[in-house]
């Protein structure tokens, strides 16, 4: 515990309570207090993880980290505490019965040939094994299979990513051997399964000879950039979010006046506060002619989370947060809510299913890549 308090800078806490005051779930009314967890850690209270299931209620959105005057890494602390909880066999009541965790663990075990590229067609140019740029597709195809009732096609974002790369003259590697990046298992505390996935994925990219990994998924890019670092030692592989790559090559992008619409942007917590990428997606969206951009009341560093981060929490407070967020999106007068993470889409779409206020808060959602692809010449 002492080491943990040092590593996460919890010792610097001076008990001001800003974290709890700012925490989206506390504000929504949950009996949840980051401050109490930090205090318990500093006091070396080992019972914290066994006593307090609310450890799994944290959205890991990092809003408290960004407000903390003492720079305590609460999100990091939660991740480490969850690992301890997992080792002590204490686990969350997962939404969807833990089905997604089962799928991820099966991927970690491996042994089957996944059918994850069933969305590829002849119009999309990709190569399965070797190339300069590796397109990390993420698990959108699984989300679409899991949530048919939302009528979402998050895989369109992935398809659009290929289209945009093709238009830049890139034939990306899209591998059928790709597996879940392990993001959710890591944040559920299952480090062993995460490491199995990380090793497989890093090796897969190394074999492809690619020097650059590009992904349209905010969680994948966070995991690659931060959590895969120990596995990438000595490797020259660079990792970028698709929007960063597109920004680098903005001069080569040929975009026509797409369907002119007013859009707003939901900052995924992984892309924004975890990695500090606020600028790139906005710049890329502004490259698209005919698009009018309107910020939501809370955006950028203040951006609100979709409240579903790691498939470990979903309750009335999460719904409250989502509804509030969608109301903000609607208040901008935008037609389309653009995001850069498929999970934001899944969770906000779920809130829109509310039979009472669903209509009030419904708004079309698209991925950044989709918006760019729709304006390609």
């Amino acid at each position: 515990m002492q080491q943990l308090a040092k590593d996460t800078n919890a010792w610097a806490c001076y008990d001001c309570g800003k974290c709890t005051a700012t925490c989206p779930i506390s504000r929504a009314g949950a009996d949840y207090s980051p401050r109490k967890h930090v205090l318990a850690t500093n006091l070396g209270d080992e019972g914290l993880i066994t006593r307090d299931e609310s450890l799994f209620a944290c959205l890991t959105c990092s809003l408290c980290d960004s407000r903390c005057p003492a720079e305590v890494g609460y999100t990091q602390l939660v991740q480490k505490l969850r690992e301890r909880a997992f080792d002590a066999k204490i686990q969350p009541e997962c939404p969807h019965g833990g089905a997604l965790q089962s799928v991820m663990r099966m991927m970690a075990k491996g042994g089957t040939q996944q059918n994850r590229l069933n969305w590829l067609d002849d119009d999309l140019q990709t190569t399965p094994a070797e190339g300069d740029i590796f397109l990390w597709t993420g698990c959108t195809v699984y989300y679409d299979a899991f949530f048919p009732e939302f009528g979402l096609a998050t895989v369109e974002g992935t398809r659009a990513a290929v289209k945009v790369l093709n238009s830049l003259g890139v034939t990306p590697v899209v591998s059928p051997e790709e597996r879940c990046c392990g993001h959710d298992l890591l944040w559920n505390g299952d480090r062993a399964s995460f490491e199995a996935l990380a090793r497989h994925n890093v090796e897969l990219v190394a074999k492809s000879g690619a020097e650059l990994v590009v992904t349209p998924c905010a969680e994948c890019v966070r995991t690659w950039l931060l959590d895969y670092q120990p596995f990438l030692e000595g490797s020259k592989v660079r990792v970028q979010h698709l929007s960063e790559y597109l920004l680098e090559r903005r001069d080569d992008l040929e975009l026509k006046n797409g369907s002119s619409s007013k859009i707003t942007f939901q900052d995924p917590c992984r892309l924004g506060r975890h990695l500090g990428i606020y600028h790139a997606p906005r710049e890329v969206l502004n490259e698209v002619p005919g698009i009018e951009f309107e910020e939501m009341r809370r955006s950028g560093r203040r951006g609100a989370c979709c409240a579903g981060g790691t498939w470990s929490n979903c309750d009335k407070f999460a719904k409250q947060i989502q509804i509030e967020r969608l109301r903000e999106a609607r208040a901008t007068g935008a037609d389309v809510l653009v995001t850069a993470c498929p999970k934001c889409q899944v969770h906000l779409a779920c809130a829109m299913k509310d039979p009472n206020i669903g209509k009030e808060i419904s708004i079309e959602m698209r991925d950044v890549a989709e918006v760019v692809a729709s304006a390609l010449v």
């Binding site: 009541e93 997962c94 833990g98 965790q101 075990k109 089957t112």
Partner: protein, 184 residues
């Protein structure tokens, strides 16, 4: 009850030395489970390589149940319920179909053979049909061979009583000897 069905109905139609699959059968309380009972009471012979899990309604069988079975090493999973129109809860089996289709799509994405998962309607009177389905499905799974996720200790893992949580956890609350409290 599962034990009775398995032991009284056991035959060895399988060639000796052949692979015996581990099959998980989900059965609804009102039709399929009673159908299995009928098969047992009527001494209808069938293969014994399945473990049965009774649920109140096939509509309860969500993707997580089936996927967890595969994750823990099941070679095949059979989902069974009342015939349409017979559901004790009127439309539970329609929900079961929705859930099953969703599950099947995920199973296909994962690369698990479609033949390892099956949906069947078996009524309480259809003991013979229960035996038939079990024999047919067992042979089908046997032909597919062991599941890629099968592990040596799968049986031990499956038989651990589960108390909820997404990772087979014993929360240790209110039990005195809970895992959580014991270790700290």
């Amino acid at each position: 009850m599962t034990q009775q069905v398995s032991s009284s109905g056991a035959t060895s139609t399988a060639p000796t030395g052949a692979f015996d699959p581990r099959i998980v059968v989900f059965a609804c309380n009102w039709c399929s489970y009673a159908g299995a009972d009928t098969a047992g009471v009527s001494r209808i012979q069938h293969q014994p390589h399945f473990r049965m899990i009774r649920v109140m309604c096939s509509g309860r069988i969500q993707p997580a149940f089936v996927l967890r079975s595969f994750e823990k090493g099941a070679d095949g999973v059979l989902v069974s319920g009342c015939h349409f129109g017979d559901c004790h809860y009127i439309f539970g089996n329609e929900r079961a179909v929705e859930q099953f289709e969703k599950t099947m799509n995920v199973v296909k994405l994962l690369g698990i053979e479609e033949g390892r998962l099956r949906l069947e309607w078996i009524s309480a009177a259809e003991g013979g049909r229960f035996a038939e389905v079990i024999n047919e499905f067992t042979d089908q799974v046997r032909a597919l061979g062991p599941s890629p996720f099968a592990v040596e200790d799968a049986i031990d893992e499956i038989e651990v009583p589960e108390t909820g949580g997404c990772m087979n956890a014993d929360k240790g609350e209110g039990k005195g000897e809970g895992v959580g409290e014991g270790e700290h």
